[in-house]
């Protein structure tokens, strides 16, 4: 216990900064992932066979292989086309991974909006994109808040895997720290606490958001 506390105090100049990097990485990759996810979700619900196929293959590949393999492939795959900084290479790899899961979240949410909404909008002369943007998506967005929040927490934890490409986020810093203080177990436990704190913080914020949302959705019929 004393050793753990000791390491905790000795790493106050390292881990909080690393936690911030973890957060930046998570937020960046999730935002990018939402963008990718939205596009892929549209591909999935589109009547165009090719787009549909592209989306299905993409989602299948991502869901069928471990994240660590994807990160490794993307890190070296992207590098052979264009050179990103480590941060962006890592963020992009996570985004491409999260994008597949987020696409399924968005697809589910869009399909959960009553079909009558689209029909009513079309019957008023709105074009498909306009109806999607102004009528369906705002409602789908509300449905997708809880699973998106969940995905955010998963993404936070998954970001630890970009330590593999040498990024000094929480887990990467933990590895470095342990390799220099020879206190693996205790160093890792300290890192674990940082993650736990971040996850608990987010679960808390998420619950608040959901509660606020459910107050709003009382307005739904």
């Amino acid at each position: 216990m004393i050793i753990i506390l000791d390491i905790f105090l000795n790493t106050l100049d390292v881990f909080p900064r690393a936690a911030l990097l973890t957060l930046r990485l998570t937020v960046t990759s999730l935002l990018l992932g939402c963008f990718i996810g939205l596009i892929i979700a549209f591909f999935r619900i589109s009547s165009n066979k090719l787009l549909n196929y592209v989306a299905t293959v993409y989602i299948g590949l991502i869901r069928g292989t471990p994240l660590i393999v994807q990160i490794a492939i993307l890190y070296f795959g992207i590098a052979s086309i264009v050179t990103f900084s480590q941060f962006w290479a890592g963020a992009l790899a996570l985004a491409i991974h999260n994008g597949a899961y987020i696409a399924e979240i968005f697809r589910g949410a869009i399909q959960a909006v009553d079909r009558g909404q689209m029909e009513a909008a079309r019957s008023l002369g709105m074009s498909y994109p306009l109806a999607m943007r102004r009528i369906v998506l705002p409602q789908a967005f509300k449905f997708s808040i809880p699973p998106l929040g969940n995905q955010f927490i998963i993404g936070l934890k998954d970001s630890s895997l970009v330590a593999y490409v040498g990024m000094a986020e929480l887990w990467g810093s933990g590895l470095s720290e342990a390799a220099s203080n020879y206190r693996q177990l205790e160093s890792y436990i300290v890192v674990g606490f940082y993650y736990l704190a971040l996850v608990m913080l987010f679960s808390f914020l998420l619950k608040k958001l959901e509660k606020r949302m459910s107050l709003d959705t009382k307005l739904l019929d």
Binding site: G116, A120, A121, L124, G125, M126, S127, K218, L220
Partner: protein, 240 residues
């Protein structure tokens, strides 16, 4: 106004509309009745091009509509539709529901659209609910808002698909009242309904459908007192 000829529509193996011919003239009120599953909703949805039909022709205002060539959004601006389940936009208040299409489709000025919306709400008796959200309205109020929303696009024809059948009985009257008023003002209307009283009082013509075909049509007096087709007699016996 609307001319439909030889309209055929299938869902998979099932042919739901088996060659419909129907003409609706200006300011006419046509009421379509028929048993459940006879194709009434499908016909209405075809007129608004919410369903893609397989064969046949629909002309509106003497213009033949070819779905691939015509801007269907423009056509739908001219044809208002009211649904059984209202389909109000739950994330928008009553006023926003009504001005949504005028502002974003017709690019009408927002203030002007709102002013007109308030007039329409006045007309359907809901002026005081302009800022309420759909979830806080009764079914009858929702449906009246839905009618106002459709009218806000200034359509030349209004289609109603069982507008009162999702309502508690005591709320049916207020919606029918608004529809009667509309008919009196000369709106061209095609109404699918099970309200025989309304049909008798307001319709210029009754169209009786069965098995995807129009089995009989004529003025309400004649239809209700002396139905020709056996199925029509059977149907009336059941509902009257």
């Amino acid at each position: 106004m609307i001319t439909i000829s030889n309209l055929v529509k299938s869902f998979g193996p099932q042919t739901v509309l088996q060659g419909i011919d129907l003409t609706v003239t200006e300011k006419e009120v046509v009421v379509i009745i028929g048993a459940s599953g006879s194709g009434k909703s499908t016909l209405l949805r075809c007129i608004n091009f919410l369903e893609v039909f397989d064969k046949g022709e629909i002309s509106i205002q003497n213009k033949k509509i070819v779905p691939e060539e015509t801007n269907l959004n423009k056509v739908r601006e001219e044809v208002g539709m009211v649904f059984q389940h209202f389909n109000l936009f739950p994330h928008k208040n009553v006023l926003e529901n009504i001005i949504e299409a005028p502002v974003h489709v017709k690019k009408m000025d927002k203030a002007m659209a709102a002013e007109k919306a308030l007039q329409l709400l006045e007309k359907v008796g809901l002026r005081d609910k302009a800022y309420a959200y759909p979830s806080n309205l009764s079914g009858g109020q929702k449906q009246r808002v839905a009618i106002a929303r459709a009218l806000a696009m200034e359509p030349r024809i209004m289609l109603f698909d069982e507008p009162t059948s999702a309502l508690d009985p005591e709320l049916v009257g207020e919606v029918l009242q608004v529809m009667k008023q509309l008919a009196k003002e000369g709106m061209t209307m095609v109404v699918v309904t099970h309200e025989m009283g309304f049909a008798r009082e307001v319709a210029d013509r009754i169209v009786f459908m069965g098995d995807g075909k129009i089995l009989e049509e004529g003025p309400p007096e004649q239809f209700f007192t002396n139905p020709q087709h056996a199925k029509a007699r059977q149907f009336l016996n059941r509902v009257l």
